[in-house]
Amino acid sequence: MSTAAPSLHSIRPCLEGAIPAIMATCDPDGTPNVAYISQVVYVDAVHVALSFQFFNKTRQNIVRNPRASVLVLDPVTAHFYRLHLLYERTEDSGPVFESMRAQLAGIASHAGMAEVFELKGADIYAVERIESVAGEGLPAPAPRSGLLHTLRLCSESIARCSGLDELLQCALQGLQDKLGIQHAMVLMLDASAQQLYTVASCGYATSGVGSEIRLGQGVIGMAARERTPVRISHMTHAALYSHAIRESMDAHATPDAPPLRGLDIPYPGLPEPHSQVAVPLLSAGRLLGVLFAESPEDMRFGFEDEDLLVGIAGQLAAAIDLLQAAPDTPEPLPTPIAAPPVSGSALRVRHFAANDSVFINDDYLIKGVAGAIVWKLLRDHQHTGRVDFTNRELRLDPALRLPDVADNLEARLLLLQRRLQENCPHIHIEKTGRGRFRLCVLRPVVLEEA
């Protein structure tokens, strides 16, 4: 068995944390020490990260004598591997640290030891040699087949999409149909607010479109802040990463915000997720948002699921970026059409300038840039009767305060469209072409600036 040395990649199933690894170190006085370690994490082909949680004997030894030997066990074949490691450095922030911290919180919660599992650092080790240990073991399972084909199918359907709405629906549908992932969402970054907002979801009782998560908050916020996938296999009570999300998310509410109903749109997540994976959406080096999936089952997402989601997220991000960057209204506006007939009792629409929040009949609709947009549309509509608008004019309107680059206007319009669909069917927005849309108001509207 010990002929060809296995690669770190080939033993990734051993690095999933299913079975604790054991580490031997040696004091400079010659006394060996052996201890369990919570995590051995794949960093790259020649490095692993080990969790540093306590200032214990292992720690003292490794700082003074950087050689370590770690025994890992394949959770399926019961085959042992020995990693011969050389300590390089400790990281106490950054992607590796944060994704390990999240995973550790999940492991701790699973082990009922949340309070003692705090990650002080990610110790980075060079892997000098991997030994396959002799032994009978159990037969290896057949490799999961068709993962590349699944990726291809998802990729093909993403590549066919020509609009943002269609693209997001298609990506989520792909996760459901082709990967069996039942609960997922896409969140977009609002860079100026340092928040992510949900633009599409599947599998939840309520869509949660518009719900917000701060950068750094929970699995999703951490994946965005650190631009790294974060995957947790056991997490029902990993408080930092799940339940905290349910707290008020309106970190930016102004003190004079309306004393009406809260501005929170409920986050749609599962009440007791057991597995979660959040993958940043990156395009040309910029963070656009997060693709997130979760499950009520433990260990639902393995490293191969993560690999697959990262593959899909790459293409999804590039497609989002392209669709949003498409030139606005290359052709002239269509001939204005008559506004649809208006009937019924009047809708009272109130706008609070402090945070651009908009309420319809006392029910919160939306705030921020999307709030400013709907307010502008309704005012223009009321003053001039117009119904057709272009993305370009929104971009040029200083009152909307859209950022110069990466304004995510398409995503904000989609968010607005969805919020109206779900909360106020008497006002809706229809796409009428690339960079064009139409406002349809089916009931009389009374506008109030609060």
């Binding site: 054991i22 580490m23 031997a24 170190t25 040696c26 400079p28 010659g30 006394t31 060996p32 020490n33 052996v34 201890a35 369990y36 306590f54 214990n56 004997k57 004598n65 050689r67 370590a68 030997s69 770690v70 025994l71 066990l73 074949t77 019961a78 042992f80 020995r82 011969h84 082990a111 030891m113 003692v116 599992f117 240990v133 002799a134 032994g135 009978e136 073991g137 159990l138």
Partner: protein, 168 residues
Amino acid sequence: MTALLGPSHIAMVAKGVSAIVASRDAALRPSIMRAVGSHISGDGQEVTVYLRRSQSEQLLQDIAHTGEIAVVFSVPSTHQTLQLKAHRATQRPAHDGDLPVLQAYLQSMVQEVGQVGYGPQYVGAMLAAPLQDVVAVTFTPTSAFDQTPGPRAGAQLCTPPTPPVPLP
């Protein structure tokens, strides 16, 4: 003779729980392997761990050359963990008389590891130990540490008696 291990620690090891053995070479490079069995005398003075030679060549060589040995015992379901160390250990091939010890250990481990979700077949593969490949390593612990995970992990249980200092 001062007892290094109390009855509860002796009982924990005697039950047959996870046992991992480590040593080091002359260059202070650590070596490591899981034991396929263990035994502790009733007074806790003599501990034997069983290793497969084919899985532990470096480790057995290091123990033979340096005498250094560290063994961590752990209950998978409770994380209760104990480490024993010694500076001298003896080795001998396992023989038929060791079979009952190995079998009892395997049965206990099937039960212990079963509690954390791994079936008998898995534990059997993990601890497979053809007798002709097994080496018994025996030592008298000279230090012991509570290593149950947490901030107090590493606390020494008690210091062995120091030899009397000869008067000048």
